[in-house]
């Protein structure tokens, strides 16, 4: 299953619902383009909802890091929401769980920006 994204606004925060695989190639490119487009439009409070992301490889992990740092460098904030066990485990073993602000419910994720 290829990567799909859909963005929506909740109280000034952009929630990006992601589904499929964030892997080398199309998946990583879609994520990169989505975040760049949001930042370009001035949307700097971003939540990546990864509830339906069932697979991430090292390139996908790199793309998440890139999205995080790109957003931060532009004065914004990017958080992760609803990690699956697989993605959670990957962020744990790569120690990135300590880098990302990870939330497990949308309301608290949105509220955390205020």
């Amino acid at each position: 299953m290829s990567m799909k994204v859909a963005s929506r606004q909740v109280d000034g925060v952009t929630i990006v619902d992601c589904s499929g695989r964030i892997t080398l190639g199309e998946g990583s490119v879609i994520l990169r383009d989505t975040v760049r487009e949001l930042l370009g439009k001035g949307n700097k409070k971003i939540v990546l909802n990864l509830q339906d992301v069932n697979y991430i490889d090292s390139s996908g992990i790199g793309e998440l890091v890139s999205a995080f740092t790109t957003t931060k460098n532009q004065g914004g904030e990017l958080k992760l929401l609803n990690l699956t066990k697989k993605v959670n485990d990957l962020l744990q073993i790569t120690k990135l769980y300590t880098v990302f602000d990870v939330k497990d419910d949308e309301a608290s994720a949105v509220k955390s920006f205020k």
């Binding site: 790199g62 073993i93 790569t94």
Partner: protein
């Protein structure tokens, strides 16, 4: 080809499709051998990372260079080898991705993930490129499949 034989080998192009293809083959073979779901995921992901290294960093997508992927069942081990025809890599130059100063790097986690998921990871130069060997021990009583003579 089913993994009821002791060894299967594939010659693949240096393309993105090869990476998905290698991962699918690993998933299928690990499933046939009876590995539990979490280990199937680990094996398929390690093979994917190995294939990424071979296609991108080894062969650099060169159309005249191939990736050789082989799966072998010997005793209690699943042995996977991935060979490329690239210029090779200097392992000493690959930084520790868990070091605080490297955590925000966007690459350099592939070998680390392979080592996290497999029991043995060996990387060695060959006369024509680099050979990666990944070994996963078969733990469960059902794992193993049926071996046949070649």
């Amino acid at each position: 080809m089913a993994m009821t034989e002791q060894r299967v080998s594939y010659t693949l192009d240096s393309s993105l499709e090869t990476i998905d293809n290698a991962e699918e083959k690993a998933t299928r073979i690990a499933t046939e051998l009876g590995f539990p779901d979490d280990e199937i995921m680990q094996i398929s992901m390690a093979v994917r990372e190995g294939a990424v290294n071979a296609v991108l960093h080894g062969n650099a997508y060169a159309p005249d260079k191939k990736v050789i992927l082989a799966f072998e069942r010997t005793g209690g081990d699943l042995i996977i080898t991935i060979r490329d025809q690239g210029v090779g890599m200097d392992l000493s130059k690959i930084p520790n991705p868990l070091a605080p100063e490297n955590l925000l790097k966007t690459s350099g986690r592939g070998i680390f993930l392979m080592r996290s998921f497999m029991d043995v990871v060996e990387i060695r130069p060959t006369q024509t490129g680099t050979e990666l060997k990944l070994i996963k021990h078969v733990h469960g009583p059902t794992a193993g499949g049926k071996e046949a003579s070649q």
